[in-house]
């Protein structure tokens, strides 16, 4: 048995179970983060080699911000795990374009992964649920000392039906997003919750039928999907001249960019159309920021503050830092840079991941040393200054 690993996992699960409302202090996070780093340094050979190259290791790292970050691209060429890869219970793959190799995230256990999904989801997407349905949701999840699967679910009849614009986890076993959708349907979804991408096709007709029915029955709904699936749906509805006024309490969660999947649309435009065509107010549309290489997701704070905002905050078991790509250091106040994530729930793979997304710190908490941040999407927008083709151009040909 892997005692160190399981002990660490138990402590992280307990931290997650405390819920989102109670932040971790810097010392508290630091303690666990350094232990996870030492664990990963010892178990993951390519990571250790990289740390050694940077002359950083458990002996030299005093603060979590010094822990070396692994670029997401490294997940394409290495199996980055702290356990024998053969023992993985699941592997999630990045989508990417066809010519690229996929990045792979191997999971030692689903327990930690799923534990990290729930309190965060409740906080940012069902936070007002207590007002709708009594107080079960937040207190049950957040207040429970052991958030193991099967505890703290709101009663079935009070749940919102989830209309999910992705394939099911059975159809897409390597999609972390589908897996997450499966978990949230299981934990929080109402009776008629469904996946609407079947055999790779978004079933718009079915969706329209079910939306009609929900509208007729004054049933609020919860729409979840990728931004490009929403665009696809909205385009269809616009062509058919269809409009919905979904019941109060309805909400939507959208995630992911557009890259090459449909016509691109700004967040403002997308939310405007969702409000206009589906009747879900902007303040009840939440962007989720997540990625295959991580276990934890990050959400816009809109539902909690009751107006549309792009601000996100890391939950107590994670930290986000914005890195100035010119210096490799944390940006000065409110500076733009690359989003770097420290995710304790990633203890069996890599905790500190350097993403390719640009973002900006939009606020800071003195107490825990955490920031609020906005994500501006993948760093692919550098304007060409000269006359040379770039990697992006050449890829398109």
């Amino acid at each position: 048995m892997d005692q160190t690993g399981h002990d660490l996992q138990r402590r992280i699960v307990a931290l997650i179970a405390r819920g989102v409302a109670q932040p971790t202090t810097d010392e508290e996070f630091n303690q666990l983060a350094r232990e996870v780093f030492a664990f990963q340094y010892e178990r993951c050979a390519p990571y250790r080699a990289y740390c050694d190259r940077l002359k950083l290791g458990p002996q030299t790292v005093a603060h979590w911000k010094q822990i070396p970050a692994v670029p997401t691209s490294a997940f394409k060429s290495f199996a980055l795990t702290c356990f024998p890869v053969g023992e993985a219970v699941a592997e999630f793959h990045t989508s990417g374009t066809t010519q690229e190799t996929a990045g792979k995230h191997y999971l030692r256990t689903l327990e930690l992964y799923e534990a990290s999904i729930k309190p965060n989801f409740v906080e940012y997407l069902l936070g007002d649920y207590d007002e709708l349905n009594g107080r079960e949701a937040r207190t049950a999840i957040g207040g429970h000392p052991d958030v193991g699967i099967g505890t703290g679910r709101p009663p079935l009849q009070k749940r919102l039906p989830m209309m999910v614009l992705t394939p099911s986890p059975q159809e897409a076993p390597h999609s972390s997003l589908s897996h997450m959708m499966g978990v949230v349907i299981r934990e929080f979804g109402g009776e008629n919750s469904q996946f609407y991408v079947k055999d790779g096709v978004l079933r718009v007709e079915e969706l329209v039928r079910d939306l009609r029915e929900a509208q007729a029955q004054h049933q609020p709904v919860f729409l979840l999907g990728t931004a490009f699936a929403f665009v696809h749906l909205l385009d269809h509805l616009a062509r058919q001249r269809l409009r919905f006024e979904m019941m109060d309490g309805s909400r939507a969660m959208e995630t992911g960019g557009f890259k090459g999947r449909s016509r691109e649309m700004s967040k403002t435009e997308l939310y405007g159309l969702i409000e206009q065509i589906l009747g879900v107010p902007k303040a009840r549309i939440v962007n989720e920021y997540g990625m295959t290489e991580l276990s934890t997701q990050f959400y816009d704070d809109s539902l909690r503050v009751n107006h549309q905002t792009d601000c996100k905050a890391a939950p107590p078991w994670a930290r986000v830092v914005i890195i100035d790509p010119n210096t490799g250091r944390e940006t000065a106040e409110m500076g733009r840079g690359l989003v770097r994530v420290y995710d304790l729930a990633n203890m069996w793979s890599i905790m500190c991941v350097q993403t390719e997304d640009l973002g900006v710190a939009s606020g800071a908490s003195q107490e825990s040393g955490t920031i609020q941040f906005e994500v501006h999407g993948r760093a692919a927008g550098a304007e060409v200054r000269g006359c040379s083709l770039t990697a992006e151009d050449l890829k398109l040909e």
Binding site: A45, P46, A49, Y50, D52, R53, L54, L56, K65, Q66, I67, P68, A69, V70, P71, S73, A74, K76, S77, F78, D324, P325, N326, T327, G328, R329, E330, G335, R336, G337, L338, Q354, E356, L358, A379, A380, G381, A382, E383, V384, R385, G386, C387, S388, L389, T390, A391, D393, L394, E397
Partner: protein, 444 residues
């Protein structure tokens, strides 16, 4: 500041009038003399033109002052009485055909330049725009030059420097600036043009082609990519330092943002020294060049591209022996307690033969190869996008390789170290500069 429609119209009529005056009594030889003198006036290390460019151009081009200084030498060093004359003689047979009927074969013939040329410059590399302006002058056309927002400085200063030598000739050219999105302004500019010369990405060029009058001559120069090949004969102890220095110059000039800037160096195996030695020597030479001519400041987006491109290699290099990375010693993948991970240059050795475009801004890939044949296989599918292939040494084998590249449609092969110095007479993107613009009248 954006020009207005009135300013564009006024510039067109002013340059046209000037052209009528000049056309009456100026010989081509006189024009060559003026342009050569103006260019020469930039080259003195203490030249006021140079000084002004070094002061003003960094803000828009993003180059360091030292880089702008290099750009002055590269751009104006190529423009001489001899090279301008040679350009005319080579492309038109004889420079005097622009002045009078000349006997060509059995018939007399003479050439006329377009009455009005609209030039659309792009990007921050000054040389193509300056050459384009020279062509307009040589053909004694009226020239409306829309300068690039990335470099409004060089064209305007060059025009001023010509004015200093010859005000009447200078009046044939007007430089203006307006945003690409102002379609009405662009339409006004091309509406009366007899020829349009456009630089930019494919999208810009096809948009201009749509706007240009159907009868106008149209020359479009798109974005391109370059690479280089080092053959085993060049990989000797004795040759390496000089070779690396030449390669570092080609890769570093214009911060690798030019279409002549190499992204990949293929190095043939089985030489006296191996490809890794080349990579290490190249890194050292790029460091030396960086010390003398620092790379410009990058925007957050540009720096993010660089980090994105390099970080995967940097991670892999720690455990994968097929990959190695050299960056400036104070840099490397940064962490808060390290020195800042400066991005000023990097050489990445990667033994995968696949051609890959760099993130630009002085990040070069070095890849081992079995020989020229393998290089051809690797670049085949990118051939239409290639501008220049540098080679070392320029020997018989390299010439056979050049023949294969010619068959692929690659427009230029040259020695490493010369990649950024095309002669004025080169076929930019495989085509003549002047011959495509003139119309002929035969007397036969």
């Amino acid at each position: 500041m954006s020009a207005t429609i009135e300013q564009i119209r006024e510039a067109i009529s002013r340059t046209r009038e000037a052209r009528e005056r000049v056309w009456q009594h100026r010989t081509t030889d006189a024009v060559i003399t003026v342009l050569a003198q103006a260019a020469k006036n930039w080259l003195d290390p203490k030249s006021p033109w140079r000084k002004r460019a070094v002061e003003q151009a960094p803000a828009t081009t993003g180059f360091s002052g030292a880089m702008v200084n290099e750009a002055v030498d590269l751009t104006f060093g190529a423009i001489t009485y001899e090279s301008l004359g040679e350009l005319l003689d080579r492309e038109l047979g004889n420079r005097r055909v622009l002045d009078e009927f000349c006997l060509r074969g059995r018939a007399h013939t003479r050439a006329m330049g377009p009455r009005l040329i609209a030039h659309f410059l792009a990007g921050n590399v000054p040389s193509p725009g300056i050459v384009s302006m020279c062509c307009g002058w040589l053909l004694r056309s009226a020239n409306l030059v829309r300068v690039s927002t990335r470099d409004p400085v060089f064209p305007a200063l060059f025009l001023e420097s010509v004015r200093e030598v010859d005000a009447e000739l200078a009046d044939c050219v007007a430089t203006l600036e307006w945003p690409r999105s102002e379609l009405a302004l662009t339409q006004t500019a091309v509406g009366d043009a007899d020829a349009v010369i456009a630089y930019g990405d494919d999208h810009t060029i096809s948009a201009l082609r749509q706007l240009a009058p159907p009868a106008a001559k149209f020359l479009g120069y798109g974005h391109k990519i370059s690479l280089a090949v080092v053959a085993k004969e060049a990989m000797t102890e004795e040759n390496l330092p000089r070779l690396a220095q030449a390669a570092a110059f080609d890769a570093s000039v214009y911060d690798q943002q030019g279409c002549l800037s190499p992204h990949v160096f293929y190095v043939e195996e089985r030489g006296q020294l191996g490809p890794r030695k080349f990579a290490a020597a190249l890194a050292e030479a790029m460091a030396a060049y960086e010390a003398r001519v620092p790379r410009g400041q990058l925007s957050v987006e540009e720096a993010a591209e660089v980090v994105k491109f390099r970080s995967g290699y940097e991670f892999a290099a720690a455990s994968d022996r097929r990959i190695a990375v050299w960056t400036n010693p104070s840099g490397g993948a940064a962490s808060p307690d390290n020195e800042p991970g400066r991005t000023s240059y990097a050489v990445i050795y990667d033994d995968s033969p696949a051609f890959r475009a760099s993130c630009l801004n002085r990040t070069v890939l070095v890849k081992p190869t079995d020989g020229y044949k393998r290089v051809l296989d690797a670049i085949q599918k990118f051939a239409p996008s290639i501008s220049t292939v540098g080679v070392a040494p320029m020997n018989e084998r390299a010439q056979a390789f050049a023949n294969e590249l010619a068959r692929m449609g690659v427009p230029r092969v040259c020695a490493i170290g010369r990649m950024q110095r095309p002669p004025l007479t080169w076929h930019h993107d495989g085509r003549p500069n002047l011959a495509d613009l003139v119309s002929w009248t035969d007397l036969a």
